[in-house]
């Protein structure tokens, strides 16, 4: 069996995945208990779990695209590990490519990595390239939180609200901007803005506005809580249907092509 998918790799993968899930369970229990202590209702806590789970299912499934893409060169286990711990497509592909280049492997991610030493180099680069946050958080997070907390307390609530909304809107803008005007990348299999991305974006926006207003009008707690995941899944089903019914050159047209 290949060194990329042998028993040792599966054991290491299980260790990483087990660790990540265990940490999440421990934090979930701790926060749940504290929530009950400070008077948050079980229903509110349950809603947070259900809503976040539904919200994560779609993007979680979309990781399969990254998993399959990286598995060609690295086997299944390493992408599985990397997507479970500090993983994302841009980081993983960049790290793997630079490690392979440094090792003189010219095929990049297009062919299986046959040399265990080059594979080991990828593992080290991927690991060392993303551990800085794990080093600085235990040392500096308490200070950052204290500083930010005291800054916010000196100001009024309106600025505190506006500040968190503005930071998050900045994040949303980046992804919406890419869906409207981004260019695709052939090598990293990153899609560009096109009919599909605009259809997904606009249908999700439309359904969300409709459901929010319906929820407010009917005073439906369910709609108010689950409008977001419903809108997201509607958009995902829509693009699958569009891809089936539209001619391929129209359905997969990207405004700016791919580099």
């Amino acid at each position: 069996m290949s060194f990329r998918e042998n028993g040792l790799m599966y054991a290491l993968g299980s260790l990483v995945v087990g660790f990540v899930i265990l940490q999440a369970v421990v934090f979930l229990i701790k926060a749940w208990r504290r929530g009950r202590e400070i008077g948050i209702s079980v229903e509110t806590l349950k809603n947070a779990v259900v809503q976040s789970s539904l919200f994560s299912l779609g993007p979680g499934l979309s990781f399969s695209a990254t998993l399959l893409m990286l598995s060609v060169s690295m086997g299944l286990v390493l992408p599985w590990i990397r997507l479970s711990i500090i993983g994302n497509i841009v980081y993983e592909t960049t790290a793997a490519e630079t490690a392979l280049n440094a090792y003189g492997v010219q095929t990049g991610l297009a062919a299986p990595v046959a040399d265990p030493v080059a594979f080991a180099a990828i593992l080290w680069v991927m690991t060392l390239g993303c551990i800085l946050s794990l080093v600085i958080i235990p040392i500096f997070l308490k200070k950052i939180q204290k500083k930010m907390g005291s800054t916010l307390q000196k100001r009024d609530n309106k600025w505190a609200d506006a500040m968190s909304a503005a930071a998050f809107i900045g994040i949303i803008s980046a992804f919406i901007g890419r869906a409207l005007a981004g260019q695709g990348n052939m090598k990293m299999a990153v899609p560009g803005a096109g009919l599909m991305s605009v259809a997904a974006l606009l249908s999700s926006v439309g359904v969300m506005i409709f459901l929010e207003q319906l929820g407010e009008r009917k005073n439906s707690r369910f709609l108010q809580n689950f409008a977001m995941p419903i809108s997201m899944y509607f958009a995902l089903v829509l693009v699958v249907v569009l891809a089936q019914v539209l001619p391929e050159n129209i359905a997969f047209f990207e405004f700016r092509g791919r580099v």
Partner: protein, 230 residues
């Protein structure tokens, strides 16, 4: 003995888990090298790490400063281990806080954010694990030689897999832009202008730009008294 506050206890627990996470992460390349007796040279690792560190180390610092006040203490210790923060964990946490009608920074917000990120982490990690098992089973049952055959079998789902982010951020954007229209205009406009000049800019680059522009423009509007109905 004085009882630790919830936040202090989260810092204590979080630090232990962070150190453990570091050990687990390092154990992967270390045990691979030991198990396969395959040791790359220090030079080759550093040559590969250099270009990565130049991009991702400053990004890591910016992300910790920009995201941790929104994620809360527990949320930060959790999400920086499992990753995908700006494109999944943070949106999840903020949507959950909005639904529960609590604010980031408050103790209620801290609790809801941690619960939301924990649930998201469990779901995504489980989904990826199940996908690996399904792919392995599919390959064995249908005698497929490599994963490219699996890829072509599920190609009809590709549009959904490729467009999960526009779908997710469309729903989030609709809700946020409606409530905070004034502070939304400038970050969206700046990102679009940047993309018109360079369409290849990745979301990893655009996110810090969007956050800084969003905060600066909101601050100016706040100072000018334009945020009465932001």
């Amino acid at each position: 003995m004085k009882k630790r506050s919830y936040i202090d206890s989260m810092h204590f627990t979080g630090r232990i888990w962070m150190v453990l996470a570091l050990c687990v992460m390092i154990s992967v390349p270390l045990f691979f090298c030991i198990g396969n007796n395959a040791w790359p040279t220090l030079f080759s690792v550093l040559a590969g790490l250099g270009p990565i560190a130049v991009i991702f180390y400053p990004t890591a610092v910016i992300e910790v400063i920009a995201f941790s006040p929104l994620l809360g203490v527990g949320g930060t210790y959790l999400s920086f281990v499992s990753g995908n923060i700006s494109d999944l964990k943070l949106p999840c946490a903020l949507a959950a806080m909005e639904s529960a009608d609590v604010r980031p920074g408050s103790e209620e917000g801290e609790v809801i954010s941690t619960i939301s990120i924990a649930a998201s982490t469990i779901v995504t990690t489980t989904v990826v694990t199940v996908l690996v098992v399904v792919i392995v089973v599919l390959m064995r049952v249908f005698g497929m030689d490599d994963t490219s055959q699996v890829k072509s079998t599920i190609s009809f789902l590709a549009p959904a897999l490729d467009n999960a982010l526009p779908a997710l951020f469309g729903a989030l954007g609709a809700s946020y832009f409606r409530k905070h229209f004034r502070i939304s205009v400038i970050p969206v406009a700046v990102i679009l202008i940047l993309l018109l000049f360079n369409g290849t800019l990745a979301s990893g680059t655009l996110v810090p730009v969007g956050v800084v522009v969003g905060l600066l423009s909101a601050h100016i509007m706040y100072k000018k008294g334009w945020l009465k109905n932001a």
